[in-house]
């Protein structure tokens, strides 16, 4: 939910010059700044390179690892398969394989491979325009070392707002 609110705000960063020419493109730097702002306002998270570190008020106390992917106006009709790997310290993109072209917008498949080699397949999403994708992985360490930890991926896809 937090990611969604932040991603929603981020996708307003439309390039004003290209927009006058009928091309909708995202200014990625500005989008990231907007994303950061909302993450800190709504959840108290601060970004350190590729992770969001929670503040004292946060619902989790584990850092959130994330990977950002932008599908621009030339590619959003094409299917896309994102493969990501979590290695215990960070989430790394492995591959982004484009697939068939669909008129209504491409389908987005995201697979996260965990530390133990499990392949987590996220529900497929259909893009309806140039999209900003945020995949995050939360790895909460257990309260006591003997208890099992709690780890899960989250994804937010928002189309660029114009």
């Amino acid at each position: 939910m937090l990611l969604e609110l932040a991603n929603h705000h981020a996708t307003f960063a439309v390039d004003p010059v290209l927009k006058t020419e009928g091309v909708i493109d995202l200014v990625e730097e500005e989008a990231m700044q907007r994303f950061d702002r909302r993450m800190s306002e709504n959840g108290g998270y601060a970004r350190q390179q590729k992770t969001y570190v929670p503040g004292e008020q946060g619902v989790t106390n584990a850092p959130i690892h994330f990977v950002r992917h932008y599908v621009d106006f030339r590619n959003w009709r094409q299917d896309l398969h994102l493969l990501l790997q979590y290695n215990g310290e960070s989430l790394v993109p492995v591959s982004a394989t484009p697939g068939a072209v669909r008129q209504g917008g491409g389908q987005l498949l995201i697979t996260v491979v965990t530390e133990r080699g499990d392949r987590l397949q996220m529900a497929p999403k259909t893009m309806i325009g140039p999209s900003h994708i945020m995949v995050a992985y939360v790895d909460e360490k257990p309260f006591l070392p003997i208890l099992p930890g709690h780890a899960f991926p989250v994804v937010s896809v928002e189309e660029v707002k114009f």
């Binding site: 609110l5 929603h8 306002e41």
Partner: protein, 138 residues
Amino acid sequence: MGQFVAVILNIMLLLLVTIGLLQAHVVVQTENELMEVSAAAVKYISNHGGSNEGALQEEVRSIISRELAEKRFSLSEQEMSVRVTRTHSADPVLWSHADEFSLVLTIPYPGFTSWIPVPTDTLQVTRQGTINVMDYDL
């Protein structure tokens, strides 16, 4: 006599610990519910906008009460105060595209006993959002 006093002290200590735990649990749960409701409300405003401030306030109220009823939350709607203010706006009346707003939900501190001193007397959650509705769609 000494034993009797000791037993009473023991019982009081036992009670105090459970009450303390219960209090902490209630606060944490209420806070989580507040976070969830506020996030849902922000999302709703973001996707619907509003044709004027009064109507929007009404709508926010109704979405919150619906949300509370459907999710069977323990929060009481009467005690909750809702404030929506715009932090950035393009038009003085319409709440439309790329306007930014902040939503503040406040409730009285959820203490069920006055024995335990509480840090503040209200619990508050603030959320920021951005509207994504074109003015010609309103």
